[in-house]
Symmetry: C2
Subunit: 141 residues, 2 copies
Amino acid sequence: MVKAALRQGALPDLLGYRLRLAQQAAFRDFAASVQGLSPGRIGLLILIDANPGVTQSRLAEAVRRDRSTMVGVIDLLEGRGLVERRRGDDRRTNGLWLTRAGHMLLARALRRIAEHERRIASRLSPAERRRLLELLGKISP
Amino acid sequence: MVKAALRQGALPDLLGYRLRLAQQAAFRDFAASVQGLSPGRIGLLILIDANPGVTQSRLAEAVRRDRSTMVGVIDLLEGRGLVERRRGDDRRTNGLWLTRAGHMLLARALRRIAEHERRIASRLSPAERRRLLELLGKISP
DNA sequence: ACAATCTGTTGGGCATCCAAACAATCTTAC
DNA sequence: GTAAGATTGTTTGGATGCCCAACAGATTGT
C-alpha cells in the first residue's frame, strides 16, 4: 500500500521553508556522520582554531548567541578536553584556545565534514554548488 | 571602537553552515513579523488547509516528526481554536480540519509571509530567487 | 574617586523534539 | 471467526538549545 504524498500548498514556493528543509536534511546527515558534536559545536571549534585567544563574548557575538548561552557550551567543550580557558590580560575575560586533543578532533571532524559536504552536494555540479553558496550569501551576508 | 570581525576559517565554504546561517536569518525575520506562531506551526496550518482531514500520523510523517510530537502541537492549535480534530472512519484516527478562525488566521499570516519573503529575498532578482529554490531542491528533494 | 560599562556566570524559564509504553482499533493469517 | 500482529493517538519522562534578569569582579571614562 503506497500512500500518496501530501499536497504542499504554498510551502514549496517559500524560501524560508525550503531553507529549513535543506538545513534539516543537512543536519540529519551531519548528525549521522560527525558523531558526538553538533554542527554548531564543531563550528565553534573552527572559529576558536581560526581565532586563538578569542573571548567568549566575541565568540557569542559572532554566532549570534547570548553570552550566557556560550558558558554552557564552553563548559562542555572544556569538559571534553577540547578547549582551554585562559585568564586574559583584561582579567574579566577568558581567552579560548584549542587543546592538543581539540586540534586532533577538529582535524578528524574536518575529514568527516568533507565527506558530509560531498553527500549533501551530490546532486550539484561544482558550478551549481558555487552558485548556491553565492545566492545564500545574498540572504545572510 | 570598532571590533574586527572574527576569522571564519573553513566555515564560509561549508554548505551546511551557510544553509544554517540563511535559515537562522530567515527565522529571525519571520519571528519578528508573523507574531504568535512559529514557521513550523504556520507550515502545519498550510498543510492541513491543503489536505483537509489529514491524520496526525500522516502529518507527522510529512514533516518528519514523531507522532508523539504532533500531539502537543495539535493540542496547541486546537486550544487556540485554529484546528479541529474529528474522529475518522477508522476510529483510531483523528482527521484534522482548519476552523473558520484557522482559515482567517492563515489568510492573514500568508500576507505577512509574503512581506517576509520579499524582505529575505530583497537582494535577489526574481531569476536568482527561482534559481535558489531550484538549487535548494537538489539538496532536499 | 566614582559612576557607567563590560565579562563571565548563575538560575529560571520556554520551545522543540524523541523514546518507551499503553489502550483502542484495525488488519492479516489461519 | 478468531487470534496474533500492526497502527493510531496519547502520556510520561527526558534531552537539547536558547534567552533573560541579576550579579560580582574588573575596567573605563569623567
